[in-house]
């Protein structure tokens, strides 16, 4: 599809989100300049319908716009949250992104990012098929560490850079993409463990850390049960609040 068409469709989508899809409004935010003749050729391709003051998308047009907006906003998340790239360069890169990315790549990026629902500016990212499937299949999902259960392990995928200061602090504590952490305690304060250290943090900070789940800590194989003491601590430092009763104490057999 023509790049100008794509820009126009995007602009219509964004205007529709705010319920003001007037021609003027669309013209204002559209990256490409357009005249009525372009709109006419779009109408011929059954992408849009328009009159003097308003432009509407047809079903086909909406479908295309949805994909474009989705790629654009996924691109924004990728650049800003994962690659920590902001500013002019990021804007330019994103502009190319939506036109260039093929659907398979789009899906992989969406999975990588954990099916984000909002772009960095707070706009909704349209759902793709992978998002709907992803909801059912939690293992493949990138998840926020605040959503994990005690004892779960996660490999950090990215940290949303809310503030430079915070990134700095986290980096210096060794919390960065690639680090494997496990969740130690959730209330009243989240405690994670990485590199032999326990680190406590506010939920505000935890809400911005995303990662891939690792397999949860291996549980005790059934056969070894009898070789273990009747009760005691198990499962490493990752387990709950420290101890777990393992089965009942065996009563001594009276002969």
């Amino acid at each position: 599809m023509n790049k100008v068409f794509e820009e126009i469709l995007e602009a219509i989508w964004m205007c529709e989100e705010q319920d003001k899809n007037t021609k003027e409004g669309i013209r204002e935010i559209c990256h490409a300049k357009f005249e009525d003749n372009i709109l006419e050729s779009m109408q011929k391709k059954e992408l849009i319908a328009f009159n003097d003051s308003y432009i509407y998308m047809t079903g086909k047009g909406k479908e295309s716009a949805r994909g474009l907006i989705r790629r654009k906003r996924l691109g924004e998340v990728l650049l800003e949250h994962v690659l920590n790239i902001k500013g002019d360069k990021a804007d330019r890169a994103v502009c190319e992104f939506e036109h260039a990315v093929i659907p398979e790549v789009e899906e992989s990026i969406c999975i990588l990012l954990g099916h984000p629902t909002e772009c960095p500016h707070g706009n909704k990212i349209p759902e793709g098929t992978c998002c709907i499937e992803g909801k059912n299949n939690i293992d493949k999902k990138v998840d926020c560490i605040a959503n994990l259960e005690i004892g779960e392990k996660i490999k950090i995928a990215y940290i949303k850079p809310e503030s430079h200061d915070r990134l700095h602090k986290l980096l210096n504590l060794g919390i960065k993409p690639g680090t494997i952490i496990d969740i130690h305690q959730k209330k009243p304060t989240l405690i994670i463990r990485c590199d032999n250290c326990e680190i406590a943090m506010d939920s505000d900070i935890a809400n911005n850390i995303y990662g891939w789940r690792k397999e949860t800590l291996p549980s005790q194989p059934v056969g070894e049960k009898d070789t273990q003491p009747a009760r005691g601590y198990s499962g490493g430092l990752g387990r709950g609040w420290g101890f777990r009763w393992k089965g009942k104490r065996k009563r001594r057999q009276v002969k």
Partner: protein, 656 residues
């Protein structure tokens, strides 16, 4: 001793600077090397200012500087800045880099930051025992080869490895940085050196100039002329354009990368599922289900040890038996040899120097203070305090601080003045203001607490709960309100947990004796002076005048006997001295239980000692100091009046 950076610029000395991450034991090493006794503790941020001392047995004028720990050099935090300032300002010096054996990766990453400053360095890996307990093997020889510097290992808290460190002090060496910078940074360094010409500036300064670091720019401004300076400005601006990432984060990530590489070569962690009892206890104590009962047990233990053993048994022994039974009767006998009766009154009378001044300080304050410092020392060095921060993070959030606020507030129970200095560990001005405010308003410091406990020992049990419950509720309430009123933002809570350690009783005991001794040395002259002033006022009839003057407020409004003015006169000089005088009145039976409670609350909420006020002026500025103190004064009087009426009402209704 608190120092400024200017103090270090003397070239004739060779200064060794202790540098390292937070809570790696720098102060412990300092104490061991210099035979000093500065504050140590098992929580991040124990040290908030620098100390300087000659190294004991180090010979030829070697001095050691202790600095607060930090995890990065690209920070704007006051205490983190100071170590950098020292490095930039003085000339002959060496770095003793203190690394944490159980977290060598993070220490190495900071180490790579610091070697860029081109100073001779020696690496000391501390807390080897904790690494062994965690099955972490460190190949020190290999590390020595890789880093190409002298390395020492130590268990400073036990004194292990200190003498070998002392021997190795001469073998400092400037290591070559192995950090792999990308092309554009290497170019920048080359060009930067070219511009500065024969001004030899370390790569560390060049690198931190890239991060808009104020200190480095000030340094450059001082060193070079305006042409070179603007050339440098252009160069950094151009270099920054070559990356889309933020440059300080980028640099840190190189250091971490290099640290990881070295770490993977020298450290082996054997898998282990064994967890020591202390670790388990550490986990239990920070989980609310088990942590709150543990906190309660600690409070009960503290009550038994300080309240019962210290405030009842020891005070009874020293004040009752030794002072009351031996010293004062003998004093009275001796005084009879002096013909003037006024002399006898001044020494052993109602406001006598011996009977009140010395008797209070040594008989009442000393024993309780000793037990309190001992107990507090155990808590401090065990690493329990950060766990309290986790338990109460949410409560402190409501009060406008993060869980870190626990540290200064807990410290307040030891000494308000010290605690106000400790508010530096909090990240924002708002948090520091709130913490200072609460400290001044409601936290009773150790000496005050001691005399309060002595007084409460003779009162019904409900009065304990009433007083401490009331103080706690006021702190929560005022904290909540100030959070709403004070401008500024709250910082985020992110804190590293330190492992729980079994405290070493012997050194804590010695330390508590030392602290009590220091306290007495400072307090006894003031106690004597205060007693003498009150005695003097009493003699010339000034007391009655003041009593009459304050009667409308103290007696009519608050509802206290007019003698309480003596208590307040004393407590303006020192809070605990006021309470100590109060105990005298109680013994005479002038005061009812309700009067005592109201008096105690008033003294707690009234402003603390002169030292604390001076420290607030210094740390927070005169405006804040005046604001806080005048609020505390009005608030104390209002609260006193309210509580008095409330308790009288309860008494009439027969509830108490």
């Amino acid at each position: 001793m608190e120092l400024r950076a200017e103090d270090f610029s003397d070239n004739s000395k060779s200064n060794y600077i202790l540098i390292g991450n937070v809570n790696t034991g720098k102060s412990t090493i300092f104490n061991k090397l210099c035979h000093k006794n500065i504050k140590e503790g098992n929580y991040p941020g124990t040290t908030v200012s620098t100390s300087l001392s000659p190294i004991f047995g180090g010979g030829n004028g070697r001095f050691l500087i202790d600095t607060p720990g930090s995890n990065t050099i690209y920070a704007e935090n006051e205490d983190e800045l100071i170590s950098k300032q020292i490095i930039l300002d003085s000339k002959t010096q060496y770095i003793i880099f203190v690394a944490d054996a159980k977290n060598l990766k993070r220490s190495l990453s900071l180490y790579f930051h610091y070697i860029e400053y081109g100073l001779p360095i020696i690496l000391n890996i501390n807390m080897m025992d904790e690494a062994i307990a965690r099955s972490i093997d460190i190949d020190v020889e290999k590390l020595q080869q890789i880093l190409d510097i002298e390395i020492n290992t130590s268990v400073a808290i036990e004194g292990g490895g200190i003498s070998s460190l002392k021997k190795k002090l001469g073998n400092v060496k400037i290591p070559e940085s192995t950090v792999k910078y990308p092309e554009f940074i290497r170019n920048y360094l080359k060009l930067g050196n070219g511009i500065l010409g024969n001004l030899t500036v370390s790569r560390g300064i060049l690198l931190s100039s890239l991060t808009d670091d104020k200190l480095s720019w000030e340094y450059l401004k001082k060193k070079c002329d305006s042409n070179t300076f603007s050339e440098m400005e252009n160069l950094t601006a151009q270099t920054k354009k070559q990356t889309i990432k933020e440059i300080d984060l980028l640099l840190v990530s190189f250091y971490i990368e290099e640290a990881e590489r070295v770490y993977n070569e020298v450290v082996r962690v054997r898998p282990t599922t064994k967890i020591s009892f202390m670790d388990k206890l550490g986990i239990w104590s920070r989980n609310p289900l088990t942590g709150i009962p543990i906190a309660m047990i600690i409070i009960v233990l503290m009550f038994l040890f300080v309240g019962r053993f210290g405030a009842e048994y020891l005070v009874g022994l020293i004040e009752g038996d030794i002072f009351g039974g031996i010293i004062i009767p003998y004093g009275e006998k001796l005084c009879k040899f002096v013909p003037y009766e006024i002399f006898s009154r001044a020494i052993v009378g109602e406001f006598g120097l011996l009977s009140v001044g010395l008797g209070l300080a040594i008989g009442i304050v000393m024993p309780v203070l000793l037990t309190f410092y001992f107990f507090y020392g155990i808590i401090e060095s065990s690493g329990y305090m950060p766990r309290l921060a986790i338990l109460f993070n949410n409560v402190f959030r409501k009060m406008g601080m993060s869980g870190k606020g626990v540290l200064p507030l807990m410290m307040g129970f030891s000494c308000i003045t010290m605690a106000i200095l400790t508010t530096r560990v909090l990240d924002t001005t708002k948090e520091r203001n709130i913490a200072t405010f609460l400290l001044i308003l409601g936290i009773p410091c150790a000496p005050l607490l001691s005399v309060m406990l002595v007084l409460l020992a003779d009162m019904p049990l409900w009065s304990y709960f009433f007083i401490f419950g009331f103080i706690a509720s006021q702190i929560l309430l005022i904290g909540y309100l100030t959070n709403k009123l004070f401008p500024g933002k709250q910082s985020e809570f992110i804190m590293e947990m330190v492992p729980l350690r079994i405290p070493r009783m012997k050194s804590i005991f010695i330390n508590s004796i030392r602290r009590t001794y220091l306290f007495l040395g400072e307090a006894i002259p003031i106690f004597l002076l205060a007693t003498f002033i009150v005695f003097f006022l009493d003699e010339i009839g000034g007391l009655t005048v003041i009593e009459d003057l304050t009667k409308p407020i103290l007696s009519d409004f608050v509802g206290l006997p007019k003698e309480s003015v003596d208590v307040f006169l004393m407590s303006i000089i020192r809070r605990e001295a006021g309470v100590a005088v109060l105990t005298q009145f109680v013994e005479k039976g002038i005061f009812t239980n309700i009067h005592v409670i109201v008096n105690l609350l008033l003294i707690t909420f009234l402003m603390p000692c002169i030292n604390a006020i001076l420290v607030i002026v210094k740390e927070r500025g005169t405006k804040v100091a005046v604001g806080i103190c005048s609020f505390a004064l009005t608030y104390a009087i209002l609260i006193g009046a309210l509580v008095n009426r409330f308790l009288l009402f309860l008494q009439k209704s027969g509830i108490i």
